[in-house]
Symmetry: C2
Subunit: 434 residues, 2 copies
Amino acid sequence: MQRRRPEQKMSEPVPTTITTAADYRAATETPAQLIPNSSTEGSGALQYISAAASLCLRCDVEVTFQRHFDVTTKGHRHEKSSEQSRNLRQMNRTVVFQAQQGTVLQAQTMLLDEPNERLYIGAKNRLLSLGLERINSDHKEIQWASTESQIEECLMKGREKPECANYIKVLQQYNHTHLLACGTGAFNPTCALVAVGTKATDRLFSLAEESVESGRGRCPYDPNSPCTSTLYRGELYIGVYTDYWENDGALCRLNSQTYTRTERDDRQQLNQPKFIKSAVIPDNDDREDDKVYFFFTEREQNPEGETKAVYTRVGRVCANDQGGRRMLVNRWSSFLKTRLICSVAGANGIDTHFDELEDIFVLKNKDEKNPEIFGLFSTTSAVFKGYAVCVYQMEDIRVSFNGPFAQRERPGHHWMPYEDRVPYPRPGSVSRPL
Amino acid sequence: MQRRRPEQKMSEPVPTTITTAADYRAATETPAQLIPNSSTEGSGALQYISAAASLCLRCDVEVTFQRHFDVTTKGHRHEKSSEQSRNLRQMNRTVVFQAQQGTVLQAQTMLLDEPNERLYIGAKNRLLSLGLERINSDHKEIQWASTESQIEECLMKGREKPECANYIKVLQQYNHTHLLACGTGAFNPTCALVAVGTKATDRLFSLAEESVESGRGRCPYDPNSPCTSTLYRGELYIGVYTDYWENDGALCRLNSQTYTRTERDDRQQLNQPKFIKSAVIPDNDDREDDKVYFFFTEREQNPEGETKAVYTRVGRVCANDQGGRRMLVNRWSSFLKTRLICSVAGANGIDTHFDELEDIFVLKNKDEKNPEIFGLFSTTSAVFKGYAVCVYQMEDIRVSFNGPFAQRERPGHHWMPYEDRVPYPRPGSVSRPL
């Protein structure tokens, strides 16, 4: 594939609303392009990944992700958004879902079920199932509020009333007949299965009451806590703060028997992470080589231990990671991370960085190994606010993970390429059953 | 003096035109405040100097320095500037100087002579002397264009016609009766003395033709080249690119017999400097302790040798520096530099930096040792443009120069505080005649 640096389109009018993957692609116009950067950085990190296909959105306009109805999942609501939605509706690409009059949806998460043509929504105290064709006449709803005793306990802890509800943060296709749903349960995380039937005509949508159980480690306590999850081969991969006080941000895999996670209190692995997205992406046709990718931001500290910057990261584990041995039982043995760079080059050689990841969209191709990764980024500055969309080729992300490692001899030293012999098996590679 | 962090005034209307020192002070409103920062950085650098008294100007408004007439020295002209000047005139604080009809002044430098109530201006092909009271009726002018042969030679070198003029870049009070003026002379720097008489009633303003001589090392070749100079005790202190190709930016002292300068091709000393301002500021009542300060920006390189950032620096030499010995004859033995930080703190712990120094104003106090340093800064980003005024106390700058040194063990290491024994006499201290 030819790689050329796209023209920057700073001064042209830019799309301010992205509704679909196609729009996402249209927003960047040029096919995904990437200039690999050989500089290294980050905690246990590899190569930087630079996106040349960046499109800087006008700095006074926010992007709203409108997923075919008038819901914004990440609070990217802007004073212009009503005008934007009106424009979208005129384009006949938006249908507004009318929640019950007087109620606010407060959607937390969504799950698209394309074969059954349903869109499931986890919201405050309820789950929704919408038909993709006629969302207003063909929707079903499950009320799932916190119990009285849960709310009472939550208020006792000094929390505010609005926090003491059940915000559904996790919604995954558990098996052919059920979804897995987890909610904050008034700071008492709770999970349950939701029966959806095996085909569209089943018209089933109900909570399996007998399946309700504790959701600790599978759902955050705080409605505002970042969280991303993926269910793959019966196992839940999740980036989540596992504790009430939000000290323990972790990337975990859970099934009914075991869990595997990042090291607790290891700031080299994760430092104040904000979890955005996760996805299973195969390396090749061998399912044993499948990898799980986590997209998140974390804080970088300078040598004096002060917080200096926010960086966007891609973390990766092997789906078949059995965990480490001895001290490292139940810990990933294949965790690696690298930095995603979204920046606009200046004529003076100085790049303007968009370091705060806001959302990720994984656009699947025919070649399921090489989806395109679309990222929406914002600035970390309190003075200058702007957004940018950057596009990354999966193969370039893979090249980075397979490239040189970075090391920092001591705190106070820069991250430099690791030039000694790399151990065998290479860190981050798939472990084969003996 | 009490130090408090001033409230940020990001959203309030801000002054967009600064005409005088008083305006400069008004723009920041709070008295100069500074939070010394113990982190160290920079080439041979000392402590960072952070200004807490920063005022971020609105990002779509540029600041024009209008020095009592309609001239902007640094091209900070803005589409709103005519409106701004109109406002200023309504405030009765601005008088517009009418250059000859059809001519454009293209002012390069200015010199205020308060005792004689004159303002001297170096412009394209001419020098002006304006009366402070009645600038339009009481002005005198010297035509000083390049010679025909100079222009021809300049065009032969492939330069454009507009460049091949004599842009007066240096204008200093040479003695009681004369100014020193230097111009680019169509890429052939030339200096001369200008007779101005000893008192206002002399009404003298003429070029001393017999004094015309080469200005190499005292004036840049290129009209767009940055340059700052100060004349002190008969010696010219100048930050200038000394060569035609602009490879050799240097901080120099010249008199009729000797010169002293920074090391040629030493990127640790100066790396692509942009010279903004210079000033002599005494340390105490002993004239032997006087220091000369240079304000400039330079480029910082990352470990891979790529240009990474622009930083604002204060450089300092002792006025009585006799130069080094052996290899270091005619080189400063007292040169030190440190970084001036102008930033706005974010709630997330991330500072927004204004790294590009645009102008410096040294506001003299009764205590001549401790002027206030006002800096106008802009961003280095090609995407986000904004300006900020930061104020520094001279005593804090001095504390930084007298504080710990920074060292970098090897390229690829961070700058860290130097913790070994500091040699005696301390680098950067005044050498005493034996």
